[in-house]
Symmetry: none
């Protein structure tokens, strides 16, 4: 058995959850919670100057998107393993987390026992997904759940379309030609695999783009 305890950082904007984690994991002598944060920027400030093994990351933070945080961590600090933690069991978010380097994913109804097991398994290089998450990931293989990559402008126009703003109005608002807006709309419809704006909006909401 390794004498070194696993260095864990927890990020969650709910003090109660942080307290729960501190209290639960604090009893475990194989895991050391080196620090807790309530937002992403504090986390990154800490990662710059400290060595960490595992980050337990709440996907819904106030200042930054969970998927982006995960991507940034795994890109900058490839040795750090990320475990996603969330109340929601939204398949598209879970898949995006996995694609962006998350080694594990747990729902917040997890017991501290299971969390400890997950951290251990991930620390030795394996992945860990709770039963419910495994099922969600398995199901999502069959139905096409890919979230197409939209450009900044496309996302912007998508939001405006969902607000009921018409092409001429969007063009005026963004100070571009209505023909350009039409091009973006066409690309959005094509990328999302839909046939018109109504279905586009529905799909975008389903995939968490709005």
């Amino acid at each position: 058995m390794n004498k070194e305890r696993i260095k864990v950082v927890v990020v969650d904007d709910h003090p109660l959850v942080l307290e729960g984690l501190r209290s639960s994991l604090g009893e475990d002598n194989t895991i050391q919670i080196v620090n807790c944060f309530e937002n992403a920027s504090d986390l990154f400030a800490f990662l710059k100057r400290s060595s960490v093994n595992v980050v337990v990351l709440d996907v819904n933070l106030p200042d930054m998107n969970g998927v982006e945080i995960c991507q940034k961590i795994t890109q900058k600090y490839s040795h750090i393993k990320v475990v996603g933690l969330s109340t929601y069991n939204d398949p598209s978010i879970i898949k995006q987390m996995v694609k962006n380097g998350a080694k594990g994913y747990l729902l917040k109804n997890v017991t501290s026992k299971e969390l400890v097991a997950a951290i251990h398994q991930i620390h030795i290089g394996q992945s860990y997904f709770s039963g419910e998450i495994q099922k969600i990931l398995a199901d999502s293989i069959f139905d096409n759940n890919e979230v197409p990559k939209l450009t900044r402008r496309e996302k912007e126009i998508l939001s405006l379309v969902a607000e009921g703003i018409t092409t001429p109005q969007i063009a005026k608002k963004l100070v571009i030609s209505p023909l350009t807006v039409e091009t973006h709309r066409r690309n959005l419809i094509q990328k999302m695999g839909v046939t018109n704006a109504a279905q586009l909006v529905k799909m975008a909401i389903e995939k968490g783009l709005i």
Copy 2:
């Protein structure tokens, strides 16, 4: 100062939150956590045979709707005060909770300090809503969040519109005139207070009609 500690019961399906609450409130010598539950049925079994002052209630439990639980508690045990606790800041749920007797409402990003203050205030017969919740309740007075009553046919057509089906296709499918479908679409747009199909779909999803 009253020598009796305030008897609190906590209900939340997340063990980590329960642990956090136990740990935070355990340090406070004015509050006694007499029990914790992860579902509603265990809670009611306990309330039958024990005296409790305050119930801290997670609104999203697996076995029963939070609003119903709140209603049942305040009806059967009028001396017990309920504090709602939730991740979501959905105005309609908060309003329903208050209507059904909740004396306080907090988001899960609450600090343990604030939670203690809330429990005290509620215990002496006042109500407590965190700043964010107060704002939401205040805003919801002004903006119209009524869900318009749609007819059966309108709902049917609304769903088809959201699937990207066009008017001629809908007409064929329902074996009615496309002109009739157009009339329904017009009425949908008018009832929902929107300007086109894209916004209609977004609004319908927001209001839980799809």
